[in-house]
């Protein structure tokens, strides 16, 4: 028993290491933010500081030990293996799916469970989606939602190279209907032409 406990911890696989490294996208902002809140709490009156101080400290410890584990993946500290109830439910789900697979051996698997290997999202796809998201944000910010939505839909359709013009037309008409007619005209949402277009329209006395 004691021998088992003392047994050397196996080295994490390259896939696990890659996943741990990826987690830095979350842990570093969390760590930096909690550190800022915790240290910043000392400058306020006690009443205003007590909650950020205590919660900040607790979260900082959690983020710190996880960061430690990412830097030293062999260490047990910050391993965070304690599965919550979600872990229990996941295992129930996996168990059901395993049993279904076993029972339906004579039938093609795909037709029963639609279990296909999860698509691996590449860095290129991530980059592409984030750029698209930022373009969406930029269009609405610069041209307002009434005009920005138009650019976004047309841009997206052409970006993905849709051959059928009908789809673009239908999407545009529905978006125009939803945003301009329902939101702007019927529900009285504020007229907004963004940080760039609004001053131009104002200078031309069009707004």
């Amino acid at each position: 028993m004691s021998k088992d406990l003392k047994a050397k911890r196996p080295d994490p696989s390259p896939k696990e290491l890659e996943k741990l490294r990826g987690e830095l996208w979350i842990i570093i902002p969390f760590f930096a933010f909690t550190l800022y809140i915790f240290l910043g709490s000392f400058q306020y009156k006690f009443a205003a500081a007590v909650v950020p101080m205590f919660i900040g400290f607790a979260t900082l410890v959690l983020a710190g030990i996880r960061l430690f584990h990412i830097i030293f993946p062999k260490s047990k500290i910050g391993d965070f293996k304690e599965a919550g109830l979600a872990g229990e439910f996941e295992s129930i789900k996996d168990q059901i799916e395993e049993e279904v697979l076993k029972r339906s051996e004579e039938e093609p698997v795909k037709e029963i469970t639609e279990e296909e290997p999860a698509k691996q999202i590449t860095f290129r796809e991530e980059k592409k989606a984030f750029i698209a998201l930022l373009i969406c944000f930029g269009s609405v910010l610069l041209f307002g939602y009434l005009v920005g939505a138009f650019f976004v839909i047309v841009g997206t359709c052409y970006y993905y190279g849709f051959k059928k013009k009908g789809k673009i037309f239908i999407t545009l008409v529905s978006m125009y209907f939803v945003i301009y007619v329902c939101l702007y005209k019927l529900l009285g949402a504020p007229a907004d032409f963004g940080l760039l277009l609004q001053p131009i329209l104002e200078s031309l006395n069009l707004f």
């Binding site: 933010f33 950020p52 109830l85």
Partner: protein, 496 residues
Amino acid sequence: MDQCVAALSALFQYQNLLLMLLGTLIGVVVGVLPGIGSTHAMAMMIPFTWKMDIVPAFVLLISIYATSKFGGSLTAILFNIPGDNPNAVTLIDGFPMAKKGKAKTAIAASATVSILGGLFSCLSLLVFLPVMYQIILLFGPPEFFMLALFGLTAIAAVSSATILKGLMGGGVGVLLAMIGYHPLVGEARYSLGTFYLQDGIYMVPVVLGALAMSAAITMWMEGSSIVGEGVPLSGSIREGVKAVFNNFGLFMRSCLIAWVVGVAPGAGSAVAGFVSYASATKTCKNPETFGKGDVRGVIAGDTALHACAGGDLLPTLTMGIPGSSAMAILLAAFALHGISPGPQVVKLRLDLVYLIILVLFIAHCISVLMAVGFSHFLEKLTKLEAEIISPVIILLCLIGSYVTREDWQDMLVATVFGILGYYMKKYGYHPIPLVLGLILGPIAEKAFFQTITHSKNGIFIFFTRIPSLIIFLCIVAVVCWPYIERLYKKPKPSAL
């Protein structure tokens, strides 16, 4: 009684009826669309409810929430496409039934349990709401503080893969809520000298970004490759309805499981469906037929999807603790209309609560008729490309963030939290604890100060009052559960 009559008369105003029909239609359509569920649809509707009165706004949102699941079940049975994650459970037995030429039987069974499950949801809410209200009347600030902590720890335990990641997410959410003016002292904290941060981080863009926009980003990356393989509509409707009544014990058991899972913060209908299905395979006779097209599998899974709505709504309405991500959106809608989520809703707007219950049931019934009637049209929707749906969701989330306060910085917050939410999900940190931390943080802080100011025993008052102590013990149990379990669980034999 007066409140119930007021709710009925409000519901039967023509504009509310129209909105219920519209909400049901939206719910059915998004239920059918792969990857989009009630959370996204409710998030997309936030900008439209902004200018509405609170009653029509909630009629629209609750109709969407109630109806998205049946559309997903229909496409799971007919085309082997689960409309949303929870509908994956319908697929296990639903599609094999359809392939055996019993599609109508499976649909009829699913439709029957949808209506009966919806009825159970509403009745359970009607029965437990007064009980919960009486319990909440016993609560003072110490209990509300403990309740907020319980909500955070429970949701961290249930929604995340590991409890500590959930707690970390919840902690960051609470810290985000600390930004801005302190409610009692009036001191601006962590504002970095900006006016925007002095008001604090607004809940609506965070909820829209972290929950809806992050999902749209994922969908955009994954693209759409699901093309339905239809099966002919054959079988007997009567057989499906009869199967439900022949297995009424299973139906009731699934309802109770779903209700309990629904009450647990963060669990949601997907968990309810699988837990109920697992229970059915263990308790029913001839379990070997499950997964091969057994109608009991459809009954167990689908009942849970619909019956958990009552349990989901109960903690949201009475305590302000959301049972799922859709409920977090509902809390954002409450905030948008100036109502603090929690006991105040039951105390001051009981008519609204009755209205929610009525809409929940009626919308369930309409959705069944609508989904069955338009099944051929709905099939076409399953072939819509994710690349066209995702920008629409993102745009509506951006607009929803903007129109409420007309501040472009809210759009920036939504975008940042959209990206953060995507990475959180990718690395096993569910964004719900973060959102809940942001919602419950100010409630907890206010209750903490009210308690400390009026307490003669300092912080010991949290442990000397019985309700507060009970909630504290629940928190300890939730946090320590994995460690206790580890002590009693036999280690699995190593493969080596």
